[in-house]
């Protein structure tokens, strides 16, 4: 049996190391190309204490995204954003000391071929990849290509995923396991879904990989509650709504600091 920490890629090693100090993990999301100086948001996220940053590569038909992320994608595409341009802009950034995880739909991965896509991610300094319309049973062709390119392919688990399949997802996922908190699309919600606790508990039974809860986590209270079950949270729509409303990097830094604080408070309590 190999040591899981040694076998893990850079994103996973980073997240495991931070988790093992007792820290609640925070992964904010930004749609690449949303504004001319969108990479400033990444700097703000890192400064606010993000443990990883998710960069969305916008797609014309985002079937798993709610209204906010859809609008963000449309805005970016209307500005002329493309995979190539976003990755070029990332390449020009200094190392933030925080792993970058790209997320996009499978069509964009296939467009120039999975090998070229993964190589381009790697050149841009991206370490992980989330593809919400690539479920585990279709992931074979990307798994090996991504691994060879040094890209950690993150798989998603859902509240309705049966337990044996959950074990397969947790085993094959790299970086972390993305726990989709509810049966629905991305977007802010009034409360953390009840399904979140049960799902994370079921994932924990089969893996010690970091588990991040996403979908609908929008407030410090929700982050605090999510932290009771998972290793951390993904926050997308709550960030992008503010960006769409005109919030700048400093505003986002302040918002994420409230989430950071909530996660830190929760970790002080016995789990």
């Amino acid at each position: 049996m190999t040591n899981p920490t040694l076998a893990a890629g850079a994103v996973e090693r980073h997240l495991r190391a931070r988790r093992d100090t007792g820290r609640g993990l925070l992964m904010p999301y930004v749609t690449g190309g949303i504004t001319p100086s969108w990479t400033d948001y990444l700097r703000a996220f890192a400064a606010a204490g993000a443990d990883a940053i998710e960069v969305g590569l916008p797609f014309s038909d985002p079937t798993l995204d709610g209204v906010t992320i859809q609008q963000a994608g449309d805005t970016a595409l209307a500005r002329g954003a493309s995979t190539r341009r976003i990755l070029a802009e990332l390449s020009g950034m200094p190392d933030l000391g925080v792993p970058l995880v790209a997320s996009t739909y499978y069509n964009l991965v296939l467009h120039d071929g999975a090998e070229a896509f993964c190589a381009a991610l790697r050149r841009a300094g991206v370490g992980g990849l989330i593809v919400p319309d690539l479920p585990v049973h279709e992931a074979d062709e990307l798994t090996d290509v991504a691994a060879a390119a040094g890209i950690e392919l993150v798989l998603l688990a859902s509240p309705v995923t049966p337990q044996p399949r959950l074990a397969e997802i947790s085993c094959r996922s790299r970086g972390f396991v993305y726990a989709v908190s509810l049966m629905g699309t991305t977007g802010e919600r009034a409360a953390l879904a009840a399904s979140a606790a049960e799902l994370t508990e079921r994932i924990r039974r089969v893996t010690d990989r970091p588990v991040l809860l996403g979908f609908g986590i929008s407030t410090p209270d929700q982050a605090r509650e999510a932290r009771r079950h998972a290793d951390g949270v993904v926050v997308g729509a709550a960030v992008m709504r503010r960006v769409l409303d005109g919030a700048g990097p400093d505003d986002l830094r302040a918002f994420l600091a409230t989430l950071r604080q909530a996660l830190d408070q929760e970790c002080d309590r016995p789990r």
């Binding site: 449309d74 995979t83 279709e138 859902s158 995923t161």
Partner: protein, 401 residues
Amino acid sequence: MRDVLPWCEPVLLDGTMGEPRARGRFGEYGGRYAPESLVEVCREVDEAFREAWADPGFRGALARLLAVHAGRPTPLTPAGRLSEALGVRLYLKREDLTHTGSHKINNVLGQALLATRMGRRRLIAETGAGQHGVATATAAALLGLEATVFMGERDIERQALNVFRMRMLGAEVVPVTAGSRTLKDATSEAMRHWVGATGDSHYCVGSVVGPDPYPWMVREFQRVIGDEARGQCAAELRTGVPDYVVACVGGGSNAAGTFAGFADTPARLVGVEAEGGAGAARGRLGVMHGCRSLFLQDDDGQITQAHSIAAGLDYPGVGPEHAHLRDLGRARYVTVTDDEAVGAAVRLARTEGIVPALESAHALAWVIRAAGGGDLPAGSTVLMTLSGRGDKDVSTLKELL
């Protein structure tokens, strides 16, 4: 000539248009590229469909609904005057004469019956021209189910009468304002809604697209067109089988159902796409709406907007089985322009007394253009599926003519 694909001799392959291979594959196309939250419900639909399709009770109940409610079998009409003018023998499979006026009802009655068998109480559907939405609303009313239909705002403007029809039948029509506000966006929105409603709702996909098992299941529910036509041709034609089988292709459900009846014959299969929505003729390999197939895309991999005067052909992709039939050379995919389709609709009206849907007029436009040339030699027998009636398009035509 815009048709660039080589014409291959029909390839008779055992099992062509049979059950897809493992993991819902038609060659390299198909599959179940669904978000994890939809994977389980796709599996449930697959299991339920397999059981139902093997169950004579289900088959009998569906056959009865198709007969007493939808008006099947539909006739095979020889287009006498047009045949004479074109120098080919043209037969029309009259799906326009079904209840609700298009072939969509065949699939919808099958899926609605399946939904009740699965204990679902509500149907979700996407619609472009409104024909699938009307069919879904109809089947829901008939079987006591609720119906929610997603329709692009732009299509709602173009097809106001069908919107009214759906509402009159008791369906909820949800305008979709995202993206291009047409069929592809309505499909995306229906999928988003389904993610949050899998417990009580069945997504009644309207074409041979979507995650496995939909492309296969919808083709099976539509194969009644091809099976009936096969029998009618056997009785009507000296040769028993037509030389050419022609149907229009948006996602491709009426074509798939028609072709299924003739895949194991020497008939040449021709799918006719709209010039501005030619997924099979000009699409590039991709993944959208749950399956791997051919889609119109720009240089960055974004799906581009289709443009057609026929709202039902306004889809930038094509069903995975059509992509496979294209690669095999078993079917050929050609395109016609809006103008050609309108011209064909008028010509059918004036020679045969039939006003076709603009979608179906595309199939006819190819027959008119090709007849007498190398692609469709004089004296050939042609079976063409007339997938729907033109009532919904009368206001569009009125502005043009």
